[in-house]
């Protein structure tokens, strides 16, 4: 391993480290798990880089390694997310429960980030994955689909439902505060 190879990888890793950290914090239950996940991701990426050289799309490549590691953690713990079948959400309920006028948009916009993160943590795992890729990492639906190994429609659906669910949670949160 030459200094140059290591330095090249390190630059890429540092460039995407915040993305990996944000991803890991949303996908893991504790910050300790998240930090381990970031480290595992970095090590896996480094090994792959040494073997196969620099990837074409480092950002997607890093995100894929991170998500795969996160998923393999459940297998180690012999669990998996409860959402395995596609639930046909009737949006009317969500929408009717939270009519437009009267929602304090400003209150929600002013919510501290940690309050929002707490509500994101209660979303289903698959919705969190999709939202992270689309909103935090800035991938397109097609790119996210490739990272997750699902169809583009599935990504769009999970993201959309996740947004609606999060909005409902935040509205309830601000109403009870």
């Amino acid at each position: 391993m030459t200094q140059g190879v290591t330095a090249g990888f390190e630059d890429v890793l540092l460039e995407h480290l915040d993305m990996l950290y944000s991803l890991s914090r949303r996908l893991c239950d504790t910050s300790q798990d998240a930090e381990d996940l970031v480290q595992d991701t970095g090590l896996s990426a480094w090994r792959a880089w040494q073997q196969h050289g620099a990837p074409n799309n480092p950002k997607a490549w890093m995100a894929t390694i991170c998500l795969n590691h996160a998923r393999s953690r459940w297998r180690r713990r012999d669990t998996r997310p409860a959402e395995t079948l596609v639930a046909d959400v009737e949006l009317d309920h969500t929408l009717n429960a939270h009519p437009g006028p009267g929602v304090d948009v400003e209150a929600i916009a002013n919510l501290e980030a940690h309050a929002v993160r707490a509500q994101v943590a209660t979303l289903s795992y698959h919705q969190r994955e999709a939202i992270c890729l689309m909103d935090l990492c800035g991938f397109t639906a097609a790119q996210s689909a490739a990272v997750l190994g699902v169809s583009r429609n599935t990504v769009l659906s999970r993201t959309h439902r996740g947004h609606l669910a999060l909005a409902a949670l935040l509205i309830d949160w601000t109403r009870t505060e």
């Binding site: 290591t6 390190e10 890793l13 540092l14 480290l17 915040d18 950290y21 944000s22 949303r26 239950d29 504790t30 300790q32 930090e35 970031v38 480290q39 970095g42 090590l43 090994r47 953690r73 459940w74 297998r75 180690r76 012999d78 669990t79 998996r80 997310p81 409860a82 959402e83 395995t84 079948l85 639930a87 959400v89 009737e90 949006l91 009317d92 929408l95 939270h98 009519p99 437009g100 929602v103 948009v105 980030a113 929002v116 994101v120 209660t122 289903s124 909103d135 935090l136 397109t140 993201t159 959309h160 439902r161 947004h163 609606l164 669910a165 999060l166 909005a167 409902a168 935040l170 509205i171």
Partner: protein, 259 residues
């Protein structure tokens, strides 16, 4: 509203072509339902974008050192199973062991605290078991604690496929949205997740292929409903099952329906 559903998800993701996007723009002016849906989704979207975090310095250093220090041998994981030290003493080892000790201490304390406050602890139920005590249907509290832990975290025990079809609860407005075969505190179970029309996870039903361990008819109670840390737990002996959920009335209804 829905003869042909409008592509709102794509619209919000900014992935419609200009003509399609303009068409949805026009539609939103006329359609209250779609307008409301888009406003709500935008709320969630902008909130989600604000959850980005900066990597703490110590985590940054840790990851960089992990990469520099090693030429780590394959299988070098940073979780509890990590067993491969390299030739040079690693600062990471000391940090890791301290972290592991802290996490275990937290898990034992935190799991109990988690049960009280209803917050995530992120640890497997097996990490800390509440002191053994039994309900009148004889179900060990360790089993109940494990069931609640899975319910609260939205996870399923095991990764196996549930080969038996789920009990039909459609008349109660519940649909199956997940199922698995696995273990609940050393008890083999089939777990089913039920959600309501909104898609909100409502209850878990655990069916045992064998009688629940230590399930003895204390005083012969065939069923029992009990509140544990704010959750309702229903247990039955004759057809061994455990039902957990937040909605007391719903859990009771389902329990009655299934026994």
């Amino acid at each position: 509203m829905n003869q042909q559903p409008w592509p709102l998800a794509e619209y919000l993701a900014g992935e419609l072509g200009p003509e399609e996007h303009a068409a949805v723009d026009d539609h939103l002016v006329e359609c209250d339902d779609c307008w409301r849906e888009v406003q709500l989704a935008r709320l969630g979207q902008s909130a989600a974008a604000r959850t980005a975090q900066v990597t703490p310095d110590d985590v940054r250093r840790r990851v960089i050192h992990a990469v520099r220090d090693g030429n780590s041998p394959p299988g070098h994981h940073s979780h509890l199973g990590w067993t491969a030290p390299s030739a040079r003493p690693h600062r990471r080892v000391r940090v890791l062991l301290t972290a592991v000790a802290a996490v275990l201490a937290f898990a034992v304390v935190g799991f109990g605290a988690g049960l009280t406050t209803g917050q995530h602890t992120g640890r497997r139920a097996e990490v800390s078991r509440p002191a053994a005590s039994t309900t009148s249907t004889g179900v060990q509290m360790g089993t109940v604690a494990a069931a609640l832990s899975y319910y609260r975290q939205g996870m399923l025990p095991g990764t196996g496929i549930a080969s038996t079809p789920a009990p039909d609860l459609r008349t109660l407005g519940l649909r199956v949205t997940g199922a698995s075969n696995g273990m609940l505190a050393a008890q083999p179970v089939t777990a089913y997740v039920y959600s309501d029309a909104r898609g909100t996870r409502q209850i878990y039903v655990f069916l045992s292929v064998t009688v629940f361990q230590a399930l003895t008819p204390h005083g012969g109670a065939p069923t029992e409903t009990r509140t544990v840390q704010g959750y309702t737990v229903f247990a039955a002996t004759r057809h061994p099952m455990l039902i957990v959920g937040l909605d007391h009335a719903l859990v009771t209804r389902v329990g009655t329906h299934l026994t």
